[in-house]
């Protein structure tokens, strides 16, 4: 049984960008995990889990 990737969904407090990364990217992204891909600010965690219905609203960072 798998549930697909487990995502952490963020929004940027500076520019409002919505983005997400799968938890298995913590190793690859290191300290950049959870940082806004546009302005580099630390994201605010909105939710986490399997892909949600509004998944496409969040840009995937990998």
């Amino acid at each position: 049984m798998s549930w697909g990737p487990c995502f952490m969904y963020y929004h940027c407090p500076e520019c409002g960008k919505k983005f997400k990364s799968a938890t298995d990217m913590i190793q690859d992204l290191g300290p950049k995990f959870g940082m806004c891909p546009v302005c580099g600010a630390e994201g605010v965690l909105d939710k986490e889990g399997a892909r949600t219905p509004d998944d496409a609203d969040y840009e995937e960072v990998d």
Binding site: M1, S2, D24, M25, R51
Partner: protein, 283 residues
């Protein structure tokens, strides 16, 4: 029979316990949808179908009647389909030990999943496979003639399989499914896939193996497994997107891609009967 060392088995995991139509409108949920998807995957090259069921609300269930209905539809509507059926024993985190295996006893599929340890699930729940359950399930599967597909989410689960082999709960040759990139399990990387394979070879020599990666690691694990002599699993249980930002059209689309990769590598896609021989199944 052709030379089996150049054959690769494609397993289609078409539904899983999680994705719904909101995630991808093409994920099959009802027995009718699942049976048609399995047939399409078989035509595309899948030799094994790993099946999960959903209740009428689309949630994961271990309802034996759903399994029975799906198999009946497949066999009735598509009598030419000789695909190996592999039924999950982990389709609902809240199912009892009894409901997780009664469908194996009554339907006698050729294969069933055997999750060889417990873990936190998606950082939100518990995926419990207690020692008592694993001992009972292993013995029952031997008695019922159902080959366990040992799902290993980390190397410790391979070590656990070796323990159950020594105890007689499992019987060699084992077949592993390396589940790569699942939260709380081993991440999906080539380095980790090599480690899983080497761990299996040292603890359970003579075993066969397959692998899949969820999300970003899907393609890496597909290519890696083919290159390292393993078999592959694809489908919407593990990935609802075909590539980044693009929803999959169907499960058969994943099978077609896996078949192309296998053939481009100079190998051949195993038929169900070849898979039976490779996996030491009794038809």
């Amino acid at each position: 029979m052709a030379d089996l060392k150049n054959k690769r088995i494609i397993t289609a995991a078409v539904t899983g316990a999680w994705p719904k139509k909101e995630n991808n409108p093409n994920v099959p949920l009802t027995p009718a949808e699942i049976s048609e998807d399995v047939y399409a995957c078989w035509k595309a090259g899948a030799a094994v179908a790993h099946l999960h069921m959903r209740d009428d609300n689309g949630n994961g269930t271990m309802d034996k009647n759903k399994f029975a209905e799906t198999i009946k539809l497949l066999r009735t509507n598509h009598p030419d389909c000789d695909i190996v059926l592999n039924l999950t024993t982990s389709g609902d985190l809240y199912a009892t030990d009894e409901t997780r295996q009664i469908h194996l006893k009554e339907l006698r599929p050729e294969m069933g999943s055997y999750d060889c340890g417990s873990m936190n699930w998606m950082n939100s729940g518990l995926f419990i496979n207690s020692p008592a359950f694993l001992e009972e399930l292993g013995k029952n599967m031997q008695e019922w003639g159902v080959k366990p597909e040992i799902e290993a989410f980390d190397p410790g689960m391979i070590a656990n399989a070796a323990y159950y082999l020594k105890k007689g709960v499992l019987k060699a040759p084992l077949h592993f499914q390396f589940c790569m990139g699942c939260a709380n399990g081993i991440t999906g990387s080539m380095k980790n896939l090599v480690f899983m394979k080497e761990t299996m070879e040292s603890l359970c020599p003579g075993s066969t193996w397959s692998a899949f990666g969820v999300g970003k690691s899907a393609m890496e694990m597909l290519y890696g497994a083919v290159a390292m002599g393993g078999h592959v699993r694809v489908g919407m249980e593990d990935n609802v997107v075909y590539q980044k930002g693009v929803l999959a059209d169907s499960n058969a689309q994943f099978v077609e891609r896996a078949a192309r990769v296998i053939r481009e590598f100079g190998l051949e896609v195993a038929t169900p009967d070849e898979a039976r021989e490779i996996l030491n199944l009794k038809k």
